[in-house]
C-alpha cells in the first residue's frame, strides 16, 4: 500500500505541471521545505496571504534575475517551477496551510556552487521585496529566522 502510494506520488511528479520542464523523480514531503511552519496564520496574514506572497515571490525572482551578483545562478533554470515552488514553500512556512511539492534544499541547490555572499544577495533581494509589499520589519525577521539555517544546505563552497 505504502509502495503503491510512493509510486503514485512519483508518477504525479514525473508529469510536470503546465509550463514547467520535466524533472528527475523525487520523494515529495513537506519536510523538503527545510523549516517547520509557524503554528498559526499570523505571519501569513502579515504577508498579506496568497496575493501578498505571490507578489513577493514574483518580485524576488525578478530582482534576482536582474542582480549582477547572482543573475548567473538563475540562468537556464526553470523559472516557472521556481516561482511555484517558492510560493508553496513560503506559504507552508508562513502558516498558510499549503503543501510543499518541491525538492529539499540540498537537492534543489546541488552543483550550483552557491557561496555565502550569494545567499546574502538573495536575502537582500527578499528584504527589498518584502519591504515593497509593506510587510512589517519584525515579521520579515521572523520569516528570515526560518530561512537562515538553510544556508547549511544551500551554500556548498
Amino acid at each position: 500500500m505504502l509502495i503503491a502510494a510512493v509510486l503514485l506520488l512519483q508518477a504525479t511528479v514525473a508529469t510536470p505541471p503546465p509550463g514547467e520542464e520535466p524533472i528527475a523523480p523525487y520523494m515529495q514531503a513537506d519536510a523538503n521545505a527545510g523549516a517547520k511552519p509557524f503554528a498559526n496564520d499570523q505571519l501569513w496574514q502579515a504577508f498579506h496571504g496568497s496575493a501578498g506572497v505571490s507578489r513577493i515571490v514574483n518580485d524576488l525572482v525578478a530582482r534576482n534575475q536582474k542582480d549582477p551578483r547572482i543573475s548567473d545562478i538563475f540562468r537556464n533554470q526553470d523559472m516557472v517551477r521556481l516561482r511555484r515552488t517558492l510560493k508553496e514553500q513560503f506559504c507552508y512556512i508562513l502558516g498558510g496551510g499549503c503543501t510543499y511539492t518541491g525538492r529539499d534544499m540540498k537537492t534543489a541547490h546541488k552543483d550550483m556552487g552557491i557561496q555565502q555572499a550569494d545567499m546574502v544577495a538573495l536575502v537582500e533581494n527578499l528584504q527589498a521585496a518584502m519591504r515593497a509589499e509593506h510587510v512589517v520589519f519584525a515579521a520579515q525577521n521572523r520569516f528570515l529566522a526560518k530561512l537562515a539555517p538553510m544556508h547549511r544546505d544551500v551554500v556548498e563552497r
Partner: protein
C-alpha cells in the same frame, strides 16, 4: 607587533587576494552584521567588544574597516583612529591610536592645560564557534576569543598617580547572538584586564595589580536593515587609590548610511575620570568598511 609590521601584513593579505582564484570575493555580509567600532578598535558596539569579525567579507574573502571616533565629555575629549582587517570572517587584526585630551582639567590636575594621554592598541580576535546571524535554529552564540595589547605613552605620570605599568594586555571571550525572530542583537563579553581607564592611565595600581574579570554587555533592537538602537554597560577595574572608576554605560544608535559606511551616535556615561566627576557626553563614530 610594530605598526610597520601590521601595515606589511595588511599589504601582503590584500596583494594575495587576486592570486587566490575566482572563488575568493569581496563583501557579502549583511548590513551592520560586522558591528560598529568599539572604543578599543575591535568590531563591536561602542563600549563592548563583540564576537563578530571586522569587514564585510564572508568565509570566502578578506575585508577591513577604518574608523574615526570622538568621545566628547564635559572635561575631556577622547579621539581615536583605527583600522582592522578581517580574514575569512574568522580572524580580525586591528590597530587603534587613542588620544585623550585633558583640556582645562589638565591644569587643575597639575599636568598642564591640554595635557594629552595617548595609547596604541593592537588587537587580534579569532572566531571559535557559532554564527551569530545564520544559525537561527540554535541558541549557540558566535563565540570569539581575543587579545588587546595596549601601550600608553605617559609612563612617568602613570607611575606618579600609582599606576604600575604603561603597557598591558587584555584577554577576552565574547559571545554575540542575533535573535532574528525577536529583531534583537545581544552580546556578552568577559575581559581579564588590569587597565585603568581603558589603559590610558596605565595598568595595575597601588590598590590592585592583578588581572580581574570584567563584564561587557550589549543589547540592541533592529528597527530596519540599516538601523539599530541599543544600550551597553561595561565594568572596569578600580586599581588606583587616587581616583575610583565606575561602570561605563551608553545608549547608542547605529545607522548604515550605505553598504560601506556606518555612523554610530551614543550618549555615554564614563563615570568619574581621574577625580573629575560625572563624565557624560557624546560618542560619535564613523566607520568605512569593505
Amino acid at each position: 607587533m610594530s605598526r610597520s609590521a601590521l601595515v606589511a601584513a595588511l599589504a601582503l593579505l590584500f596583494a594575495a587576494q587576486p592570486a587566490s582564484a575566482g572563488d575568493r570575493r569581496w563583501g557579502g555580509k549583511l548590513l551592520l552584521t560586522n558591528g560598529v567600532t568599539s572604543v578599543e578598535g575591535a568590531a563591536g558596539g561602542g563600549l563592548a567588544t563583540w564576537a563578530v569579525i571586522a569587514g564585510n567579507e564572508t568565509r570566502d574573502g578578506v575585508g577591513g574597516k577604518v574608523n574615526a571616533t570622538l568621545v566628547a565629555l564635559p572635561d575631556f575629549d577622547l579621539e581615536s583612529f583605527g583600522a582592522a582587517i578581517g580574514v575569512n570572517d574568522r580572524l580580525e587584526l586591528s590597530y587603534t591610536h587613542q588620544s585623550f585630551d585633558t583640556r582645562a582639567a589638565g591644569a587643575a590636575l597639575g599636568l598642564g592645560r591640554g595635557f594629552t594621554f595617548q595609547q596604541d592598541i593592537y588587537g587580534a580576535k579569532l572566531r571559535v564557534i557559532g554564527d551569530a546571524v545564520w544559525d537561527q535554529d540554535s541558541w549557540l552564540p558566535q563565540i570569539a576569543v581575543g587579545v588587546q595589547h595596549k601601550r600608553a605613552n605617559r609612563g612617568a605620570i602613570i607611575r606618579a598617580v600609582g599606576g604600575r605599568h604603561d603597557r598591558g594586555t587584555d584577554f577576552y571571550v565574547a559571545a554575540t547572538k542575533v535573535l532574528l525572530s525577536r529583531s534583537l542583537v545581544l552580546n556578552a563579553t568577559v575581559r581579564a584586564t588590569k587597565a585603568n581607564q581603558f589603559g590610558l592611565l596605565g595598568f595595575g595600581g597601588d590598590r590592585h595589580d592583578h588581572y580581574r574579570p570584567q563584564f561587557e554587555g550589549s543589547a540592541g533592537i533592529m528597527l530596519s536593515p540599516r538601523f539599530v538602537l541599543g544600550a551597553e554597560a561595561r565594568t572596569k577595574p578600580s586599581n588606583l587609590n587616587f581616583a575610583c572608576e565606575q561602570t561605563a554605560v551608553d545608549a547608542f544608535a547605529a545607522w548604515a548610511l550605505a553598504r560601506n559606511v556606518s555612523l554610530t551616535a551614543a550618549y555615554v556615561d564614563l563615570g568619574d575620570i581621574a577625580t573629575v566627576r560625572r563624565q557624560r557626553g557624546a560618542f560619535l563614530s564613523i566607520q568605512g568598511s569593505l
